[in-house]
Amino acid sequence: KNLEEFREAMGIMQHHDAVTGTEKQKVANDYARILYKNMYQGDDIVSSSLSKWILKNKNENSSPVQFHSCLELNISSCTYTEENTNFVVTLYNPQSQPVTTYVRLPVQGQSYSVKDSTGTEQKTQIVPIPTPVINIPGRKSKATVELVFAAIKIPALGYQSYYISENNAAQHVHLSHATINSSM
């Protein structure tokens, strides 16, 4: 049912007014509603797929894992990374070739440990979220900084997970302000 509704939404979004933004405002609002609802339902589809995939290699008694996506990462806002001190980030690579990419997650803490599945500690950096972004109307987020790390070689059409935990002591803080310099 979720998939069927998702497909219907994608069908509606192919109308030329939806693509170019030449619809009336109330229609635009309705498109946004349809898209939001179905992206959210799409989340359930992906979550159950990833969960089955991951549990395939575990014993049958393992409980399913819940995966949440953050639709407001574009404004540096994500409840799950902001409110939790320990969380797992799973990156699914939709490309047919391995991808190395930088991951940015809005957080509240000042120091985090990021480990891949083999326990290898990843290099991290904490960068402040710019004030104009923090002040975006409607942005309900406690995050003032972003945690940055590199996800190396996520397999093609596959996933890679990282275990992230907040460090108690402010260790490995790579936050530096250089407001006096005018060049980079």
């Binding site: 030449t22 969380f87 699914y92 939709p94 975006i136 940055v148 790579h174 302000h177």
Partner: protein
Amino acid sequence: DSALFNITVNGNGNVIVQDKHQDIEYTQSFHYYEGAEGNNKVFLNRSSGAYIFRPKTSDIKNLTNTGSHKIYKGPLVDEMHITINDWISQVVRVYNKENFLEFNWLVGPIPVGEHIGKEVITKYSSNLKTNKIFYTDSNGREMIKRIRDFRPTWDVKIAEPVSGNYYPVTSKIFINDKKRSLKLSVLTDRSEGGTSLRDGEIELMVHRRLLSDDAFGVGEPLNEEAFGTGLETRGQHYVIGGRASDVSSIVLKEKKLAQKLALRPWTFITPVEDITFEQWS
């Protein structure tokens, strides 16, 4: 000496970039056009709106820089946070060992207090000699050659020199300097309008707020609001320069970058408050 870029911000809030390895210099700046406002009774007196981009004059307006900038450096990324005014700011990023620049812009809410619609653009002005030629993509497929004030199949007289030279940019626009074999490309994270109105320049429209309907059917001005004010939009441009002679290498790099922008990995979070790494592993 090993640095790839030298990046400075001048008094106008413009970003000056020296791509040291490629011998390319460019300045990135924000400007806006004022939207035309007509009576919509005859074609030549139509307003700028959802369907058409029609600036009141061909002149771009400059912004007064009332903001500031800060630099943050670290082991993975160096960032310059630039605030130009109350409604335009951006972050310029250079990731470790990457040979491109990321411009992460935030534009809006566009002020229309004086009842003038505005169409905001960002411009990359380089030292490349481009002889009226630039290239835009076609739904992410082939690159199409565009020549300023020219159409390949008929003798055109451009009546509106700005909008008459604007083309859709689905994901990429580039210019090249044939003599110096240099190329400058801008990759976008969404479809935008783009052009090259002067040699060496790339111009992309990032946000619009207009106050009159253009009489093409929608019956409303392009004036979206949220939280009682105009919309804010945040997006990214990746800018990459390279030697055009090294075609295979730069095409491959750009292709990979474009795919990174368009097909980013999906991020999923699982809270594991009571689970240790060993248990999770």
